[in-house]
Subunit: 203 residues, 2 copies
Amino acid sequence: MSAKIITITREFGSGGRTIGKKVAEALGYDFYDWNLVSKIAAESGFAPEFVEENCEDASSALPWLFRAQNVGGDLSDQLFAAQRNVIWQLAEKGSCVIVGRCADYLLRTRTDVLNCFIYAEGEAKKQRIIHEYGETEVSIDKRLKDKDRKRKAHYQYYTGRKWGRAFYYDVCLDSGRLGIDACIDTVVSLAKSFTCTTPKEED
Amino acid sequence: MSAKIITITREFGSGGRTIGKKVAEALGYDFYDWNLVSKIAAESGFAPEFVEENCEDASSALPWLFRAQNVGGDLSDQLFAAQRNVIWQLAEKGSCVIVGRCADYLLRTRTDVLNCFIYAEGEAKKQRIIHEYGETEVSIDKRLKDKDRKRKAHYQYYTGRKWGRAFYYDVCLDSGRLGIDACIDTVVSLAKSFTCTTPKEED
């Protein structure tokens, strides 16, 4: 037996997406990341641009902003509901790796999910962001801080969970200190040996 | 290259001690757990019984109690200083696995340490405690709650860290869901492939 679904919750710049992609390739699983946007757009009826703008990294402050102005708050909730439906449909469809999008939380009642959290130290994340996405006019410190803040706020808002608390996950890995390859090998190995058949207990 | 020192911070009932012992055997490393008590007693001049009473699981509320009464607070600090000295001496001496005793925090400036956190869900911990230590007159729920509370309080008091925050560790594993053997294999494998040569960044 092995884990049918693998969720990867990750810090910006930790290489979590790369790790998820390589794990999916190694296991022959489907891989979902940015390609979820078009599926969520189709499910919700919203434009892909709107979905992307309201995704975990972009305008995560929107729900608060909408609510503070007492308009449109339920648009974010509608979007999140569509996200939940899409992720559940994909999990039903077949074995897959899902990166981000609160998939760990959304699939928490399933019995076949291995939940992973990937993070790294500041310097390792900065080096990786420059290497992967290149330099921009905005300083690397600001890019990292902004993205981390938004992703964390989005996750905590929708899940009610504290960012980085180990107990929500089956395995947490510091990709900067362990190396991307070691993280890939670890997740693949743990997914293969996974025999757990109960949902992850709430912390 | 590989990690010379492995620290295991663990929840009561998670099997962290067993995992550490097996990892030490697999790597041919020394193993330190309860046997640290006599070394800390020798270093500090305190009786082994006093050391044990003030260890992470026993009377961890003592520092507060001492301080509230304005007597003896520095005894706990003296004991912790002796603990730090012993752990540093052992780390200098040779490759080893150290379970508990805030070793992750005490060795945080070293460059050759793999830090692991082992935890498990409530039901898995209860089953393991009964299996390992047997039934007692005190209910399993109370034993688990008391020990967890004391260990967490001791760790947070001496390290200033939040219990269970992933970022302090290189790897965190849910031994209940992954299984003890998979945890042993993971730590051994990560220790072998470890090439990091910098101290773990402060969170």
